[in-house]
Symmetry: C2
Subunit: 523 residues, 2 copies
Amino acid sequence: MNLTGKMLIGGQAVAGSREAVQAIDPATGKLLEPAYPGGTGEQVEQACALAWAAFDRYRETSLAVRAHFLETIADEIEALGDELVERAVVESGLPRARIQGERSRTCGQLRTFARTVRAGEWLDVRVDTAQPERQLLPRADLRQRHVPLGPVAVFGASNFPLAFSVAGGDTASALAAGCPVIVKAHGAHPGTSELVGHAVARAVAKCELPEGVFSLLFGSGREVGIALVSDPRIKAVGFTGSRSGGIALCQAAQARPEPIPVYAEMSSINPVFLFPAALQARAEALAQGFVASLTQGAGQFCTNPGLVIALQGPDLDRFNAAAADAVQRSSAQTMLTPGIFDAYQTGVGALASHARPVAAGLSTEGPNQCQPRLFMTTARDFLANSALQTEVFGAASLIVQCANGEEIRQVAEHLEGQLTATLHLDDGDLQAARALLPTLERKAGRLLVNGWPTGVEVCDAMVHGGPFPATSDARSTSVGTAAIQRFLRPVCYQGFPDSLLPAALRHGNPLQLRRLLDGQREA
Amino acid sequence: MNLTGKMLIGGQAVAGSREAVQAIDPATGKLLEPAYPGGTGEQVEQACALAWAAFDRYRETSLAVRAHFLETIADEIEALGDELVERAVVESGLPRARIQGERSRTCGQLRTFARTVRAGEWLDVRVDTAQPERQLLPRADLRQRHVPLGPVAVFGASNFPLAFSVAGGDTASALAAGCPVIVKAHGAHPGTSELVGHAVARAVAKCELPEGVFSLLFGSGREVGIALVSDPRIKAVGFTGSRSGGIALCQAAQARPEPIPVYAEMSSINPVFLFPAALQARAEALAQGFVASLTQGAGQFCTNPGLVIALQGPDLDRFNAAAADAVQRSSAQTMLTPGIFDAYQTGVGALASHARPVAAGLSTEGPNQCQPRLFMTTARDFLANSALQTEVFGAASLIVQCANGEEIRQVAEHLEGQLTATLHLDDGDLQAARALLPTLERKAGRLLVNGWPTGVEVCDAMVHGGPFPATSDARSTSVGTAAIQRFLRPVCYQGFPDSLLPAALRHGNPLQLRRLLDGQREA
């Protein structure tokens, strides 16, 4: 299709009239056509009105219809073919294979949520049957299910132009829950966003759903986003991006007459702990794995290993030497946007002023090239200087040398909330690792042993979340099937005649759900 | 035991040194000994430090130990015997039978949470086993469980001196989740609070748990409460009380460097819809039931029916006449505190200035006597005047006469978030009720047919929650076993050796949990 530079308000392609966003090919610095004029306040209103009008009908679609809708979105994205891949590559600077993989992940994610919708466990059906003969007070029939919160505003992320953007994890889980979605596209990949937006809109039409189930807005600056989050018809927000952006959305959501939940995934430096026996056994291999994880995708992952913590000594020296060597041999890679590149340079400069530079990767001509960087500091300096905990988005990491186990514990306790914490250990390290686990469980949403934090599996057990500032809501995950729970609330039905109950709660259990029935889980 | 006027910081009875709270017998207006001097900032700190020190050990107690602890609290409360009942009666002005029933409910609630802890479903264990041979990328072993958030601040409510106070629903569910609890006692019943606090502390000691698992603080004004909510070691808040009090806590929680969740149950007028066929068939019986629910406990329930909505006409006239008659024959009842009585008088005065007074109950000599009151207005006036939606805590209610079904729909859509919405209907009303349900599902946490909203069952299916301003978090319930979920967050363990996994996640499933294993629920 020809890219039009237009938004999607329900099924209608509509041109904005505010300041435009326009993609830049970060590998060349050239502007990419077309420009995408930003939405007006009135257009935000229209999208919200359509979403609100669609909500009551969409949320009562059957499990089968809703699951089929998610699968149809996946089909429509795949049907975009190479055009989508090519546009995403040129807008993001990411390699073609990475974008192809991300497309698979995005469509797989939609299909996984379709399975989750069909299984119906997210309804969390609980039934306490009437006890009319109970002494003192009879008990009425009480039944609980979960219902969707309402229309959700989703903010696309720059670093996953498919998997965490227009039809990414936030959108998939909100649609799965029964919430209409209004996406504020990320300005870095508007063409990719338009293509995917049309795929979603086609799925809405094919499934004969109300058009307001999905809209796609553009806007430079924060105006459209704040207007969306402030609209009374928006009932929840999904966001992946910077700490300042996430906090601004949280504040706007709290300032509403009716505050709403914001799921903002913001900031994490993903500490990696190298335990002594593991370090002694394979310092060089650990360094290889570390640098591979650090430099993957120019380090532009929320789970990039930005901090390494270990006991000082000859084994850490071996690790440091091997890591420095691997970094020095690492190529520069194109970053997603000039803004991200500038922030990386600034962040690396700040690290250099507080910590000792250890190694830098190869440099390249051309714009927006991320040169990997490695720094070192002591536990004492790390504990004294909270600037060393600031996330530097890109392929930069800091090694913290500790004098003893107590310093390691202090560094761990000093950490802000994280998406992940990683432990590299051998059998001889188990006792020390066990002692550190309670701290790490309090700090992070995902703990890894002998792996690397980049690469987030979309599955039932995944937690991509964690205490503030990793996210604004530690009770949630934004990746994996449990992400659906962010957009639901429980409703209890007391004394209802069967004909008035939603299907999930009827006496005959027509959806064959595994209910909690009078305190017992059904087989 | 002799009441001491002291707080409990961990196991230690400690006297505060700030302005004291002192109970008043609301039936006589007399001060009750002793006074309870308020805690200092330093004492709040001490309680938080003890809670924090207890957290890692308490949260890893076995399901059996934690369940036994909850049961021991119930046993210790029962062992307080008549002393507790007598003190609660004199502090609250509530009848003896009501306090005895509330004690049963409180102990039953603790034992219900013990069963919930043992069943272990709250752990929400999910296992995705390793797929080392998977193409493109192997999958690591991934396991998820839920862990407690951390120490919880609980604010006792005035209207349930046992069931929603020191060892009430918030405390029981937080302790069940594995969170230490610091209670800020309600100033209306400090003696009751001290007695129950000692029962909890005895259970902590008997179960050989760290003393910081429980503390009990007193304080006049908001100083102690805000200090608690602002302490970095507090990770969640449970509150039942006024809208202004709840919002103040939410704002304090959001202003922290690390914001935390607040579960505030605040304000609800609990609309009751009378449908035409039901009204025609039994207007007088409905009026009897309504006035009984309205006047129960002097109307001092969060779920008190403060709003009745119906079509104007002869059947509603019958209801109104019968309700007016029943109200006029209703006795005055002692309210919980002089402050609540003053607020009731003010609220009734405000209603009288916006709506037509229909009936008033019998008046009585003596202080703090709640005289039931009934008012009437039209849908047009209700829609035009949001003051008519303000909760009046006590036995006052407003009948809204609607000219047609569209006005009923408009009134329903105009409502703020509610704890409950009630429908009285017969077979002939089913279609009209079905049309209204989508609106009510968006507005309330619990929907009732042909019942009355007062009387909240503690069970699996209960939802005592709802959209703002009914609560600050529509995703939760504060009554029933699902309340435990408020104090939990998911953690994922990737690639862990079995010996490092918590028991709930080990390969052999030693806790025999019904896990979600590779996408399938275990039998």
